[in-house]
């Protein structure tokens, strides 16, 4: 019944609009306004241009100020401070260009609306001003490029030698994290060894992997450079940590990396934002399927001492899964007995993994 009445109302509305439209046409023919080349509507539109400029400008300014605090995720990395500053400086420069050009556009539209007895100014070109307004944007661009290029090279440059290393692996639809253990070396992995238990594809015949451990959340120490080694085991994902201004794709078959230095512990950030439940979050930022919007992991920034404590408490993957370790021992014994060669798959993956480690 309600559906029917809604349909009826809509139909009636359409009829009313149709009639109004016909009426409008008839009156314009009757009053002769449809014959005039430039009528009253020209003036109305010129005024609307100014109304739009002033009204729109005011709305833009208001909404921007209103939302400004919400649109700046709190920063917690060294390079994040620099890029955010550059972002807002760039936005300010562009903002000036935006306001200037929009004001001119609508002001000219209003100011030079059609007048009977006036003729437009025949002004086909002027080399001097054309050169000037080609050079000005070119110079501003050059400055922006230079600043951006310097920052970009610094951010993407090699990580400091003492950086804390951890590996993040994307999969449909969650993140897996691995730390290198005491030896500070990540062991060899091979995607062909992945199964429900061995989610990383640990190849435990590699001694470096024996003390590697996995974690349910990411812990990093404050004030220390952190090097993320990034992999994916199925489709593309993107490691996105908005608070640290960190983003890098996770690509199957091509390990990537990103390093940054956290500047505030989780506790400090909770105090700063006044939100006792605040957590740094890792999100996926490259479409990866049904659960793309829910690929979340928490990141905890600890004081260095706390980090060391946490690190010491972790149990290695091989300790937690002795049966996996045992199966590798058996396999390698068999291999030693039968054929001296390393498993073919592992041999393929090793160089790639080695290349990835810088």
């Amino acid at each position: 019944m309600t559906t029917l009445s809604i349909v009826l109302v809509l139909a009636l509305l359409l009829v009313v609009f149709g009639l109004l439209f016909r009426l409008q046409i008839l009156t314009s023919i009757f009053s002769g306004s449809s014959n005039r080349e430039v009528g009253v509507s020209n003036r109305v539109n010129a005024i609307l241009c100014m109304v739009f400029l002033i009204g729109g400008g005011a709305w833009f300014a208001w909404s921007f100020i209103e939302n400004f605090d919400k649109m700046n995720p709190p920063i917690a990395s060294v390079h994040g401070l620099a890029t955010d500053k550059m972002f807002w400086v760039s936005m300010a420069i562009l903002g000036v260009a935006f306001v200037l050009t929009q004001v001119l556009l609508f002001w000219y539209s209003y100011r030079y609306q059609h007048k009977e007895n006036r003729r437009a100014f025949f002004f086909p070109h002027n080399n001097k001003i054309e050169v000037i307004w080609t050079l000005i944007p070119a110079i501003v661009m050059a400055a922006l490029v230079f600043a951006g290029w310097k920052e970009w090279t610094r951010i993407t440059g090699p990580a400091p030698k003492d950086a804390v290393v951890l590996e993040i692996m994307g999969k449909q639809f969650n993140w897996l994290v691995r730390y290198p253990g005491r030896d500070q070396k990540l062991g060899v992995v091979n995607y062909r060894l992945i199964d429900a238990v061995n989610e990383f594809g640990f190849d435990l015949s590699d001694q470096n992997g024996i003390d590697d451990f996995t974690a349910g959340e990411i812990h990093v120490p404050k004030g220390h450079p952190v090097l993320l080694r990034i992999r994916s085991r199925d489709v593309l994902h993107s490691v996105y940590m908005p608070n640290f201004r960190v983003q890098m794709y996770a690509v199957p078959g091509m390990p990537t990396k990103f390093w940054f230095t956290p500047t505030k512990t989780t506790d400090e950030m909770r105090a700063q934002t006044g939100n006792p439940n605040f957590n740094y979050e890792l999100a996926c930022n490259q479409i990866c399927g049904r659960g793309h919007f829910a690929m979340k992991m928490s990141i905890i920034v600890d004081e260095p001492d706390d980090y060391v404590n946490w690190f010491a408490q972790q149990k290695s993957f091989s300790d937690q899964n002795p049966e996996v370790l045992a199966s590798f021992k058996q396999k390698s014994e068999k291999l030693v007995n039968k054929a001296p060669a390393v498993p073919a798959a592992a041999a393929v993956v090793t160089p790639a993994a080695a290349k990835a480690s810088l």
């Binding site: 449809s34 539109n45 241009c49 739009f52 909404s63 921007f64 939302n67 649109m71 994040g80 972002f87 562009l94 935006f98 050009t101 001119l104 556009l105 609508f106 000219y108 030079y112 609306q113 059609h114 007048k115 006036r118 003729r119 437009a120 025949f122 002004f123 070109h125 002027n126 080609t134 944007p137 070119a138 922006l144 951006g148 290029w149 970009w152 090279t153 993407t156 440059g157 429900a196 085991r233 199925d234 489709v235 593309l236 993107s238 996105y240 960190v246 983003q247 890098m248 794709y249 078959g253 930022n285 490259q286 479409i287 399927g289 049904r290 793309h292 919007f293 829910a294 979340k296 993956v349």
Partner: protein
Amino acid sequence: MAANFPTQEQVQGGIGATEPGHDHAHHDEHHEQSFLQKYVFSTDHKVIAKQFLISGIIWAVIGGTLSSLFRLQLGWPEATLEWLTPFLGKWIEAGKLNPEFYLALVTMHGTIMVFFVLTAGLSGTFSNFLIPLQIGARDMASGFMNMLSYWFFFVSSVIMFASLFIETGPAAAGWTIYPPLSALPQAISGSGAGQTLWLVSMALFIVSQLLGGVNYITTVINLRTQGMSMSKLPLTIWAFFLTAILGLLAFPVLFSAALLLIFDRSFGTSFFLSDIYIAGQALPNTGGSPILFQHLFWFLGHPEVYIVIMPAMGMVSEILATNARKPIFGYRAMIGSLLGISLLSFIVWAHHMFVTGMNPFLGSVFMFLTLIIAVPSAVKVFNWLATLWRGNIRFTTAMLFSIGFVSLFIAGGLTGIVLGNAALDIQLHNTYFVVAHFHLVMGSSAFFGLWAGVYHWFPKMFGRMMDEKLGYIHFWLTFIGVYLVFLPMHYVGIAGFPRRYYAWTGFDTFSQFADLNKFISVAAIVAFIGQFIFIFNFFYSIWRGRRATENPWNSTTLEWTTPVIPGHGNWPGDIPAVHRWPYDYSKPGAEEDFIPQTVPYSQTQSSNLPYEKEME
């Protein structure tokens, strides 16, 4: 190309070499075309243009509907959408939109809008309609190929449309169809039959584009009327010409990417696949690179955004000059900037890939090249502003849309300078800041160019005028609507909201802005519904609009010298010769405030400039 101007006023029968080969007088007497020949399998460029236009409008309604559906989800993530079950069937699960279908919606929205509306609908319509009319040709170089171009597009459209209804859903890996997601049906159901149909449809679409492009280029080079040197072409033609060249060079690369992806999907190759463990199984593929696909895709994808925007730039230049009653400012600079943009558009593609793991040094190079392209774009904007300065502006609907175009192009273009900066792109990549940026600079702007073109050339297409009042309502509603949608979207993007998210409710970081997203959704849906005013106006005016005159806008270009409804062959008599550039508006000393291109200097001695005296 004729460098010398003939002394006689009328040139006999055009020039032999450029005559497309049918004697028109003869033609009129004998040729009775059947309905099928005239309106369906037509080889007439004007009919083909209308076919592209109406197909484009239908696609735009579909694309817009899809966006309204996903804006419902984004604005009201907690709401039940049970009431959509009659339309969406099994894709509504327990009152909720299926998340995979949500991804299919955004994928198809992007594909449809970029390719089917703004490439085929915009450039297909106006390149076809205006090239022969504005250069003084009877038709395209090959009418038959032109017809094929439309019908390849049509078949491609049918396949893409059909893919919306199949059981496993349409393609859902994003309009950029990055593998491995797009290659593996086990990763997302849309990558099954839906993705296959997408690839087949795009392959046919590319064939259509190439057939059209070859034709446009050949026609512009060979079939210009006497006196129409390249330096007397309207800017529309320059824009269509360069657009066609971009398409011809860029689309084959997308074709190769699609082909390799088809091989990976169906024949077990590993161009883009390596080291994948999915659905409990390790795949045998090794050695491929998903990043290679992105290079191939964006080698088309970036020129593609200029393929979309350059025709709009050309038409806007033309309409601004006509309605400001002033010559376009810096005609040569406008051509130069189009050339610059065309060239640079091929060497900036990897700015879409700063954070994909590509070598950071490459990132530096592409950042540098990307920011250079801002310079010719800025020059164009300044020239448009200078064209308005001290004009005598008539606000036709087309003029309003052109002014709107400039406004939106500035608003969207400026943020491109931020995104082109690799250091800033780390944070902004794939956020709503990107979505807002490209929807303004290529989406909305190109749409505004399209509307401006339709309102301006409607009288020549259908011999009738569109209703101006409805046009004004349509313009202001759309213009305000677009800003209400996309300005706040920047705020959401600066806050880091990732695109292609079904909901942000799972993250604390993205917990603000629920209200703003609701606001954006309302604005988007209202603005979309407002488009039906345009659709009504368009179809109503085809049959019931006010009758047009030959040259309703007092314009100078050649198409306005044809009859109210130009027939097959465009000019009933000889093709007019051209004597001057297309922007002699408000020339001091001239009687009228416009001098058509066909008027020789000998007839305008009072207004000739010193260097024009010798051409009298």
